[in-house]
């Protein structure tokens, strides 16, 4: 199949996700699609797979224009899309999942399970996966589930397979297996579009590449003509330097250690050690799936640690009880405000007071005036724009909601703040006012750990930056050593630092 996408543009509301991008893939070609989070890769692929139509632009296959692509039509054209997130039903068997929507039938409205089982097993065996097709999907581990997703795409002969980050849950041996399958299919003339953040993978499997940045086309060419460093630079562009918030609000880092984590291991992070001093901002970064999410929640006692210990400002922490962690002087702003932060039915005032109630408020009763004053203070300090603090929190803009969540934790007057993606999904103005608050906290002598994957945030905030790659620490950089290219290289596994 020869695919050509011409002058594709797509907007979601005011956000232009893809701007005039042209893109082509030849027969038997593995094409790497590169770009940072939000660069427009997934949007472009969703347009190709018919999930939604482009605003402008055409899709041509083997020289013929395809009008109004739908998922069904894409299937008929033998285009398969392996999504990043797993789309499997846990309570069905492997083969039932693989044939979902395309079952073999027998007379009498029956499903020909025997035929499905045989066919599915054949595909799984050809992949050397070692997975039995009659197992329940719930009994598989994440890597096996990802293999089943891939097997589903191989079930019916395909001509173009789109893989969006297919290796996030796979280990090196499994990735090698996947690549062997891909090479074999390529020899049969199947084309691939391969989306990944991991440079070594792109460079070992792809023939050609296209780079997108901020929804625009940047460059396309043959992989053999560039190296990993050049690719990383294309990906992030010339980084623009903004005024440093940290220079405007300087903090003195004392020798007083406020948190000391030793040999932490959990579900997806291993043997992580670090310490944070008063006045210091430590940024922990890594790609999706690198273990940063789990590390953040584990540090607060919200998920369990398998191994390791954490010493807080007042001695060792009991990591099994969130309230005790809070009372030992640690506050945490969780990621994903909508799911983990806001209480949508509660007023702004109570959203603001909640953590204080739990950790510091020793009476049974709530004093309305006290809570109203508490909110007025927060409002002034954080610049929260509200009508009345008795309105539901959902009446606020995302940035103002996030300020309320932040202020909820500032009520604790903790010694250490853990902030997990504190500026997720809010506009630039609100981001900067949150950076300012974080820098001020450090200036007051508090320790701050910020988890983020956005470079401008790392650049603005960090005194030190720890980078995770596949659950392990791949580098700890001091402020003067931090560069966007460097961080990208450490988080994609291009470079690794030998650590003591």
């Amino acid at each position: 199949m020869i695919l050509e996408m011409k002058h594709i543009s797509k907007s979601f509301g005011a956000v232009q996700a893809v701007k005039d991008v042209s893109f082509s893939v030849g027969k038997g070609e593995i094409h790497g699609l590169l770009g940072e989070n939000g660069a427009g890769k997934t949007t472009l692929m969703n347009i190709l797979a018919g999930t939604f139509p482009p605003d402008i632009g055409t899709i041509e296959i083997d020289g013929n224009v395809v009008e109004s692509m739908t998922p069904r039509k894409a299937m008929e054209l033998r285009i398969r899309f392996i999504h990043q997130e797993l789309n499997l039903c846990n309570d069905l068997t492997v083969f039932q999942n693989m044939f979902l929507g395309y079952e073999y039938s027998k007379p009498g409205l029956r499903v020909d399970k025997k035929k499905e089982l045989e066919h599915a097993q054949k595909v799984l065996d050809s992949m050397n996966s070692g997975i039995k097709a009659d197992l329940l999907v719930a009994d598989l581990d994440t890597a096996q589930k990802q293999m089943v997703e891939i097997a589903r795409a191989l079930l019916f002969s395909s001509e173009l397979i789109i893989m969006d980050e297919p290796t996030t849950a796979l280990n090196n041996r499994e990735i090698e297996k996947l690549f062997t399958i891909m090479r074999a299919l390529k020899d049969e003339g199947v084309s691939f579009i391969y989306i990944s953040h991991k440079m070594p993978e792109i460079f070992s499997i792809c023939d050609t590449y296209t780079v997108l940045r901020d929804g625009s086309f940047i460059k396309t060419g043959a992989i053999k003509d560039i190296d990993e460093h050049q690719a990383t630079e294309l990906l992030i562009g010339k980084s623009f330097i903004q005024a440093h918030i940290k220079d405007a609000i300087p903090a003195t880092i004392s020798d007083d250690v406020v948190l000391n984590a030793k040999n932490l291991s959990g579900k997806s992070f291993f043997d992580i050690s670090f310490s944070v001093r008063r006045g210091e901002i430590l940024v922990i970064t890594g790609l999706q799936g690198s273990g940063t999410d789990e590390l953040a929640t584990a540090l607060f006692g919200a998920t369990s640690l398998d191994h390791g210990s954490v010493d807080g400002p007042n001695g060792p922490l009991d990591m099994k009880d969130i309230k005790k962690v809070m009372q030992s002087g640690i506050g945490m702003i969780p990621r994903n405000r909508k799911e983990r932060g806001i209480l949508p039915d509660l007023t702004i005032r109570y959203n603001n007071s909640l953590a204080y109630f739990v950790a510091k408020h020793s009476h049974l009763l709530v004093n309305t005036k006290e809570e109203s004053d508490r909110f007025k203070r927060s409002q002034k300090q954080m610049g929260i724009k509200v009508g009345s603090d008795l309105d539901p929190i959902t009446s606020l803009s995302g940035g103002n909601q996030q300020k309320v969540i932040l202020s909820r934790w500032l009520q604790l007057d903790a010694d250490l703040y853990i902030m997990d993606n504190p500026t997720q999904g809010i506009d630039v103005g609100a981001k900067f006012s949150i950076y300012k608050i974080i820098a001020e906290l450090a200036a007051q002598g508090k320790g701050v750990i910020v988890f983020t994957s956005e470079y401008p945030e790392i650049h603005q905030l960090s005194d030190r930056c720890m980078v995770l790659y596949k659950g392990r620490c791949s580098a700890v950089l001091e402020r003067e050593d931090i560069s966007e290219v460097g961080i990208m290289e450490y988080s994609t596994g291009t470079r690794r630092e030998a650590l003591k």
Binding site: A302, M332, E339, I342, L343, L346, Y350, V366
Partner: protein, 325 residues
């Protein structure tokens, strides 16, 4: 003065506010008007107190149900728990001859019944619907076995003094009316003035966020069931006093339905997070008024449930319309 003229938008907004936040008052007044039209004698003191007396025991249970639903849970075991405790309560009364001990027994048994539900939900990690379905079945069975088909009847020696608790009046006001009003005030106070009340709404609104704010979600849920259980205990005590003879198979039958209905009609969201105690209080009264109107309008008693059912659906539909724009 400027700004006297309201724009269409403002009028609509105000109207939405009234129908949104005060819908239970609105429907209460409407229903009351209907009742007065059907029978002008509805507004006599005698009838009003009678409405309260009829609704108070279920009403006390509905207050517990209000907390449970506000936290996003449900309790189906109300009727069986009340039957269990009141049956045993009569036995305690007959053997100890002490009303105080009987009251303490009923409240204590309520705490235990509530704790069992709460611990199964939190420690056992079983859905509240299933837990309380099981306890509903279990408690009814236990009390049936104890009664062996016969009633639990208060001894003649205790009859007059015990019956006076539910049937008596204080300054012309029936005791039951005072009990319901007292429990409503207490529950309303807990929900709106204490930290615990805020935690209940928080758990019902977003359990994940509540947990990450340091709230011990399991403890909150257990306490809610325990408080509700204590109210069932009080309701059981009052029921025994009112009837002085408890039929194991039928006592408290359908209380869970009436309690859930009162909470729903009163404007509490079935998804949790939202709801006012005063709404539940009005919901209890509305159920009584509907009942009375149907009798006065000579609607066949068998159709009573149909009308109640329709009214519940209408009440909940009105809520979901508000939410989904």
């Amino acid at each position: 003065m400027k700004g006297v003229t309201l724009s269409r938008e403002q009028v609509r907004e105000t109207w939405r506010n009234i129908t949104g936040n005060y819908s239970h008052w609105l429907s209460f007044v409407l229903l009351l008007l209907v009742a007065i039209m059907v029978s002008p004698s509805f507004l006599t003191w005698n009838n009003i107190t009678n409405q309260f007396v009829q609704g108070s025991i279920v009403g006390i249970c509905a207050m517990g149900m209000s907390l449970i639903i506000s936290a996003g849970m449900i309790d189906l075991s109300v009727g069986s728990s009340v039957a269990l405790i009141s049956g045993f309560g009569v036995l305690v009364l007959n053997s100890t001859k002490s009303i105080t001990l009987t009251l303490l027994f009923c409240l204590g048994a309520g705490v235990i019944v509530g704790l069992i539900n709460g611990l199964l939900v939190t420690k056992g990690k079983i859905a509240p619907f299933i837990v309380t379905l099981a306890t509903m079945s279990a408690w009814r069975s236990v009390i049936n076995q104890m009664g062996q088909g016969g009633p639990f009847t208060v001894d003649n020696s205790m009859y007059a003094s015990f019956r006076n608790i539910a049937a008596g009046r204080f300054l012309g006001i029936p005791h039951l009316m005072l009990f319901l009003t007292g429990i409503t005030l207490l529950t309303g106070f807990i929900m709106s003035k204490t930290k615990f009340g805020t935690y209940i709404y928080a758990v019902g609104s977003n359990q994940q966020a509540a947990r990450l704010s340091g709230i011990n979600v399991n403890r909150v849920k257990t306490l809610i069931f325990t408080y509700a259980g204590t109210l069932y205990g009080l309701a059981a005590f009052l029921l025994a006093s009112r009837l002085t003879s408890i039929q194991a198979a039928s006592a408290g039958m359908g209380y869970e339905m009436d309690a859930i209905a009162a909470v729903a009609i009163g404007g509490t969201s079935m998804d949790g997070g939202k709801g006012k105690i005063i709404g539940t209080f009005l919901g209890v009264l509305m159920l009584r008024i509907i009942n009375t109107v149907l009798i006065m309008a000579n609607v066949p008693p068998f159709l009573n449930g149909l009308v109640t059912g329709v009214i519940i659906i209408v009440a909940v539909l009105a809520q979901s319309n508000k939410k989904g724009k």
